[in-house]
Symmetry: C2
Subunit: 204 residues, 2 copies
Amino acid sequence: MKKKARDPEAASVAKIKKAAHKVFLQKGFASTTIRDIAEAAGTNVALLNYHFGSKKNLFEEVMLEKIRELLGRLTPIFTNETTTLEQKVNGLVDSYIDFLLNDPDLVTFILNEIRKGNFDFIVKARLDELVHQSFFMKQLKEASGDVNPIQFLFSIVAMIIFPFVARPVIIQTKLVDQDAFQQMMLERKKLIPLWINQILNGKK
Amino acid sequence: MKKKARDPEAASVAKIKKAAHKVFLQKGFASTTIRDIAEAAGTNVALLNYHFGSKKNLFEEVMLEKIRELLGRLTPIFTNETTTLEQKVNGLVDSYIDFLLNDPDLVTFILNEIRKGNFDFIVKARLDELVHQSFFMKQLKEASGDVNPIQFLFSIVAMIIFPFVARPVIIQTKLVDQDAFQQMMLERKKLIPLWINQILNGKK
DNA sequence: AAATGATTTAATCAAATGATTAAAATATAT
DNA sequence: ATATATTTTAATCATTTGATTAAATCATTT
């Protein structure tokens, strides 16, 4: 595909990845054409093929990069054995919301690609291990009483992620506008940990 | 497209719609071919065109039918002026979860099609009006104190919908299996109203 | 059994798309 | 300056796909 690495090449590769990320997020894998990407990157299909070989290859490189970035932020929080459950929920909510505010369509996109069967790229990330073997789950289990701790995990992640999943709907239907959405998500950084506390304590 | 209505015709139309619903949900609009649908329906592309004219037409007919069915269940709950907020949350959670258990991929599907720009079919459903002008929102606003009631609406809907959005991920990663998922959602019918109560009361 | 409508078969069209190639042009390193 | 790497242009190929058609077959009604 290529033989030596120089500066301009790296710039092109980055430019293409950035454009691909944008277009894939907008249109999904199937609806995106390599011509779309080439145009968005201000280049041509021949160069995409020169650097990435195929559309699927480009897609996987781009997505894997994003997933790794997110996991890189969450893992230290999940596995930390010195912080309390409350601190972890705080950190989780804070990091997660910040990350997604920066990339608002990522969640819906990933979930959908998985639903369609494109989950090679996420299986490689091994996030089940993170959930199952983490210190966080151990702590959550202790706080859950006789309710399955997964029920609480669902609700925590739901309250973080769902607004991003619903975002296109609520913006399209003018329920909330772009700025108000951002504002609400920042407000949620405080609300969600509070709510989780009330839920976990309320059941004792 | 057709001239007279008889029995076998109606059966064919239903058969095609059912197959289309199934395939569209599995693969999304762009990835689904009319040949896929024809095969799933045990028929042929010529008949699809005979009855529906185009792929997009078939898609919109099928999706609109589903949306209307869901709204038909939720509207009476949202607009009822004789029930308490607590009763509404109970009814909402119960109806919504029942509906989605019957059609587990519908949510992800709809959200994604909207994200891709295929929202003609949902704009027609006017669900913004339902949310804004409903008696439910009036009651929720009263219970919300100085927090934006939309924050609570997000969380209520999130806790109902999110597990269905995450379902493909959690089943794929073997976090929870099919049966356990069903069981947990039934359990959630009791948990969510309880939690919402705790959250709404906790902030007084 | 004749007529009408519904369905199938089989083929074809035009357009879009992923992929590939050759050749020219451009930039960079040494 | 020369060689090498990168990028562009432009064209082409094979496939897939949505759409359409004509003719044959099947089912139902009358």
